[in-house]
């Protein structure tokens, strides 16, 4: 690669990161803004952080969201990866139907998925709450994992796995030691996408959750009518900072272990 191209590349990477992070920085700056309603700057304050600390239901909703998103992303990643492998490698009855389901799920507007799942849960006589929400989020995120993993496995050399099988590896061992390492970046990408989707879903969550389990996006969207309060900015700032600290921590940990 020529030097010029390399500089261009570095610039592009920085620009995109700037595009992604400037709005977040705005949120953090405004979490210190001494104004209840406006988007104008009115001076520095910490009061939204104390308001946040006193707002138990909001913090609970955030924690609920985190736990659902973590579990949903993990289950969706496992199921989505398995679905990709089944569609890619095996022949079985209804394979094309399954493949079709993946795309139908991606197209389904949230409102349609939310209402149809709610009707399904009611018909099944399931109590609405954590578990129904979890199942819905897994279903919501699953196709994103499958599509990503399928793309990764597109050029996959079938001979590799056949070689492993010839050497006596079981299908599971071939999966574990050949397929999974190969698909790993796509699996990781799938988990991240799933987590993101789950953390941000409103309409599906609205319909499938019950009267005792509230998640953060619902609580935030429901503020629209009365105006979003700045303690949400404070919450966003706290969550963002904690994430960044965790990531830096994890990065340092893996780096020292490598040495």
């Amino acid at each position: 690669m020529t030097l010029r191209l390399r500089t261009l590349r570095t610039w592009l990477v920085w620009l995109v990161y700037a595009f992604l992070y400037v709005p977040i920085l705005v949120v953090i700056v405004y979490s210190f803004n001494d104004a209840r309603y406006t988007t104008e700057w009115k001076g520095f304050t910490l009061k939204w952080y104390s308001a946040l600390a006193a707002n138990g239901p909001l913090v609970d909703a955030a924690l609920n969201s985190l736990s659902v998103a973590t579990l949903a992303a993990t289950i969706a990643t496992v199921l989505g990866t398995l679905a990709a492998i089944c569609i890619r490698r095996y022949r079985f009855p209804g394979r094309k139907v399954l493949h079709g389901c993946i795309y139908v799920l991606t197209v389904s507007p949230d409102i349609v998925m939310g209402i149809s799942l709610l009707i399904f849960f009611i018909a099944m006589g399931v109590q609405l709450g954590f578990w129904t929400l979890l199942a819905a989020h897994v279903t919501l995120a699953l196709p994103f994992v499958t599509v990503t993993v399928l793309a990764r496995l597109a050029e996959f050399d079938e001979q590799l796995i056949e070689a492993a099988r010839d050497l006596g590896a079981s299908e599971w061992r071939a999966f574990r030691h050949v397929l999974l390492p190969l698909a790993a970046p796509a699996v990781a990408a799938g988990w991240l996408l799933s987590f993101t989707l789950s953390m941000d879903d409103v309409l599906v969550s609205f319909f499938v959750t019950g009267p005792t389990f509230e998640v953060l996006p619902l609580r935030i969207y429901s503020m629209v009518r009365l105006g979003v309060k700045p303690d949400i900015n404070a919450l966003s700032a706290v969550m963002f900072t904690v994430t960044i600290v965790l990531v830096l921590l994890a990065q340092t940990l893996t780096r020292t272990r490598r040495k």
Partner: protein
């Protein structure tokens, strides 16, 4: 052959069970609803009718559909143009760094989308951040507003959908064998030719996956065009939501959703068919060698249905 059974059987069973219960069954129910009549007290009445589809053969609905498809396609293109070089840069960065760079792409999206959209308003509004920066640089004399127009809508959609383009692209580009590129260059190909004939075809599955994950959800997206664009036109996402919630005409909403799904599935099938023709033509050509050899009959290859196949064979 017997020792492979447990994993294979279990995987198929689990995937079938989940998708059958939570995807197939509800969607079949939805399909059924499209043939029912709107009910005043119970949402639907159990009377068979084709009327819902007939009502959608209407210039108003076609305009809504056209506008939505255009907006989704345009934002997908913008995401691809920004996302591809970026994903390429990340995928060719130092190895230990890659997962972290990728993680940094996603982290902003763990902040609630409404809050992020409000932050975009602060940036785009009249006398907002963007306007002030432009004024300070002397590029404009008077405060400008970027709100309530196509620019704001595209900025918002690109911002929200970018990771869904970058991540699949990364997963696909990351495994690209750079020796192929070197070989092409050794054979005298320019950088551009090498990119066009080697890199692009090999990463096509990632491009297709990324475009799908951006295009399909963006069709159902409504609050960004509403908040940033000023809701001056109606999109298919709004239309369906309105039918279900405001007009309470579930059969019509379900029919609109079904038409949307069928339309997109037709597009995907069209893509399969065309990529299969390309693949066949190439297979007839010279290099059928290593790339397509060695496929076992048990696997699902070569039936042209797997849409991630379009790129095969050029390397």
């Amino acid at each position: 052959m017997t020792q492979r059974r447990p994993f294979r059987t279990a995987s198929i069973a689990v995937v079938w069970l989940w998708l059958g219960l939570f995807a197939l069954l509800p969607n079949l129910g939805l399909l059924l609803v499209t043939f029912l009549e709107r009910g005043e007290s119970d949402f639907v009445r159990l009377v068979f009718t084709w009327d819902n589809y007939a009502r959608l053969a209407d210039p108003v609905f076609i305009r809504i559909l056209g506008e939505s498809l255009w907006l989704a396609a345009a934002s997908t293109l913008v995401c691809l143009l920004i996302g591809y070089p970026f994903a390429y840069a990340v995928a060719t960065a130092r190895r230990g760094l890659r997962p972290w760079l990728l993680l940094l792409v996603v982290i902003p999206f763990w902040t609630n989308s409404l809050i992020r959209t409000y932050a975009l308003i602060i940036i785009l509004k009249s006398q907002g951040l963007a306007s002030n920066v432009l004024m300070a640089l002397g590029l404009v004399r008077e405060p400008v507003s970027f709100m309530y127009g196509e620019f704001a809508v595209f900025t918002g959609l690109t911002y929200t959908l970018l990771p869904f383009m970058i991540l699949p692209l990364y997963a696909s580009i990351e495994k690209l064998d750079k020796r192929l590129l070197d070989a092409a260059k050794d054979l005298g190909a320019s950088s551009l030719r090498a990119f066009w004939h080697v890199t692009l075809p090999l990463t096509l599955p990632g491009i297709v996956a990324g475009c799908m994950l951006v295009f399909l959800p963006s069709l159902g997206c409504f609050y960004i065009p509403e908040i940033l664009g000023g809701a001056k036109s109606m999109l298919i996402g709004n239309f369906i939501k309105n039918q279900f919630l405001v007009a309470r005409d579930w059969p019509l909403g379900a029919a609109a959703s079904t038409i949307l799904t069928v339309l997109l599935v037709l597009m995907i099938i069209g893509y399969w068919l065309s990529s299969r023709r390309v693949a066949l033509r190439e297979r007839k050509g010279a290099d059928t060698g290593a790339a397509t050899a060695g496929r076992t009959p048990d696997t699902a290859h070569g039936d042209g249905e797997d849409m991630t196949h379009g790129a095969r064979g050029r390397a």
